[in-house]
Symmetry: C2
Subunit: 422 residues, 2 copies
């Protein structure tokens, strides 16, 4: 059992109210939250939080972790050039060992930014499962097939293999996007989802071009077309949704789908500003993701929350467009639930102990008039003092406790970068 005491605690179970007290963990679980009782059990470790904040960890609801090998490789170039000249040809060179190495590089950044779970779409799932479980971090695979109905078997194989693979690993059905697959694939995935009673996820309406071409092909936007073929009978969601209109949002609202926004990626690639204010007002479920490190370029949920909030102000010419606290909710509870991680979404006894300590005494967090707003508008991953996943401390005061040193991870990646990008 680990005891955190002298803490401000924001459970996110409900709103963003903050209480003072302590939190205990027992194995992977939270066992107690409350005031200091008269009698204390014996703990294996007791941590004085010094009045700092205990809160649920961030969950990254959309990423391609191993794309860290292309971070800063090609900047300030148009999207099509970037994808077809600077991404795809280089991804072809990747080996399973490369994915393992570059996943670990991203895990360093996730943990330092207070993230304990990644909803990952990429190649070589065995490599990613090894990297994440060895480091102690959660991984939810999102299926990323493209092509035709013939590819659905591969999705099902991966789903059956990874859905009960490890306590830290899970799998959700998904495919890359409407524009990289045909109707037979979409209907095949819908049939699989219905048979398995499973949600489905995909890239959706990220660019105007893609959104409009789907309308030309199917007579409906991606969201409306997918609903019409029964893809979302058991829920799910989509990544980006930049070009959603009110009918698309209504599809999400009535199906309880997750709108996973990636503000930094949409900004860097000039895809646009997603309608988060409208989603919030209409009761659409919001989550946040970083997207891959080559299209962001940071893996930093503080920056996603910040950009998510301020871009709505600019888009609507209204400083009050969306409450900052809504971004905090999306980055924690929302993202966890979007990935199906309902056992580590909030802080409560019986839940998985996936939590962070945020330094409230750093200059940028003072004065602490309104802590939730400060986390979004002035918070910084520099303020993350501790990251715990499933009851294990993985990052503490700048040190990693993941069984491998950052130096070794960097050495491993640096040798590979020369081969991959020369």
């Amino acid at each position: 059992m680990i005891r955190f005491y002298n803490a401000k605690i924001m459970t996110m179970d409900g709103g963003t109210q903050i209480t003072e007290g302590e939190l205990w963990t027992d194995g992977a679980l939270i066992s107690y939250i409350g005031e200091t009782p008269a009698e204390l059990p014996v703990f294996e470790r007791e941590i004085d939080v010094h009045g700092n904040l205990l809160m649920p960890s961030f969950k990254n609801a959309h990423t391609h972790s191993a794309m860290s090998f292309l971070r800063s490789f090609a900047e300030d170039v148009p999207l099509q050039t970037w994808l077809f000249e600077k991404v795809f040809p280089y991804e072809d060179r990747l080996t399973p060992e490369d994915v393992y190495a570059f996943d670990r590089l991203s895990i360093l950044e996730y943990l330092a930014s207070g993230m304990t779970a990644a909803f990952d779409m990429y190649f070589f799932p065995e490599s990613s499962a090894a990297a994440f479980t060895e480091c102690g971090m959660r991984l939810v695979f999102c299926g990323s097939i493209n092509g035709t109905a013939a590819d659905v078997d591969r999705l099902n194989d991966q789903f059956q293999k990874f859905r009960h693979y490890h306590p830290l690993v899970n799998y959700r059905l998904g495919f890359h996007a409407e524009y990289t697959s045909d109707e037979s694939l979409h209907r095949g995935v819908a049939a699989l989802a219905q048979a398995e009673h499973e949600p489905v996820y995909t890239h959706i309406s990220e660019t105007k071009k893609e959104h409009e071409e789907c309308i030309a092909r199917h007579g409906a936007s991606p969201a409306q077309y997918f609903e019409s073929i029964g893809l979302w009978e058991y829920g799910g969601g989509g990544f980006h949704g930049v070009w959603f209109d009110e009918k698309d949002r209504a599809v999400y609202q009535r199906n309880g789908l997750w709108f996973v926004s990636c503000p930094c990626s949409n900004a860097k690639l000039a895809s646009g500003i997603a309608p988060l204010k409208e989603c919030f007002a209409e009761g659409v479920n919001l989550a946040l993701g970083t997207d891959g490190p080559a299209s962001n370029n940071a893996l930093d949920m503080f920056r996603e929350m910040y950009l998510g909030a301020v871009l709505q102000k600019l888009r609507h010419n209204d400083a009050a467009a969306i409450p900052a606290a809504e971004m905090l909710r999306a980055a924690t509870v929302g993202s966890a639930r979007a990935m199906g991680l309902t056992d580590c979404d909030v802080l409560a006894p019986g839940k998985q102990a996936d939590l962070i300590v945020v330094d409230l005494h750093a200059a940028n967090m003072q004065p602490a008039h309104h802590i939730p707003e400060s986390l979004v508008l002035s918070g910084d991953r520099m303020n993350v003092r501790m990251t715990m996943c499933a009851g294990k401390i993985l990052y503490l005061n700048g040190e990693y406790l993941i069984g491998v040193s950052p130096e070794e991870i960097l050495r491993d990646t640096q040798a590979r970068i020369v081969r991959l990008t020369d």
Copy 2:
């Protein structure tokens, strides 16, 4: 003499090329940059930079440092409500001792973010001069009078007092804004600037309302009106410029004025997105500022560079809208020159030793395909390992060397916040 060796060095003297070698300081100045010579002098300190980056420090070309007391006090409210209900009434309560205390709080954040100079507009200049000089950081006051010609004497008094006040302190002529003063003040400041051969600075075209009301009052935008009355005969510049059109930019271009952009403040207050792409294309001098901590809410030049870059991509629907490296130049060389700090703008022998060490081995900075772009698109103040101003190390590996502990500064501010904001 201090020796930094085993460094990557980006002098910013010209472009953003990076060399490997060492840099020495002697007192406040840089005395050597180059390869390791055959014979070395005796140093008082030798610092192994471990292959990390030595570069010019950031300079904050627009701020109101002591407004840190209102950080996170009122969020997600419209601009007018914010200013008139949540800022002005509380500023009236400030004492000189409060300004000293909240300046020191902001100095903690400046130094941790790699900033060594602030171009500050606020009340009680003696308090600010004390706070900055005691901590070893540069302060350039910007005159902030408002009202009528009768107020120009006060500006002149402050200018004469603070222009040669201390090696770390300087003063530039300025006034708050066109909309908070009348033509007699503008003409009075112009006459003073001409008599003293000095540049002039002011808030300008921050909001659409202010920009259009000036046109209604004077038949010209602020930039064009000020040029017509001879305000900028010896240069200067303006803060924000969000609503500038091509004629306004031409005024800046032909007078060599500084366009000081504050992207984060303009976003939080929904003022708009400044035309940085156009300024860059037309040869207008660019600098960056954080604005005050209540309208940002962070004092973080990494975030300003990032937002400055990505908002141009969104505004122009073009991922190649502005080179990321241009934001790096604005935040360092540009901001220094905007404030008149031409002796600490770049790294070169004979220049003031105002420089920082950036950790290139942190996960978010790897791989280092293109370092200038990484600094802007994935860099983070977490990566600042050292901040030196005038040859003195003020911040090193998370520790402050400023003669006062962060704990003491926090204690001092916390007692005041209760009185100021209850």
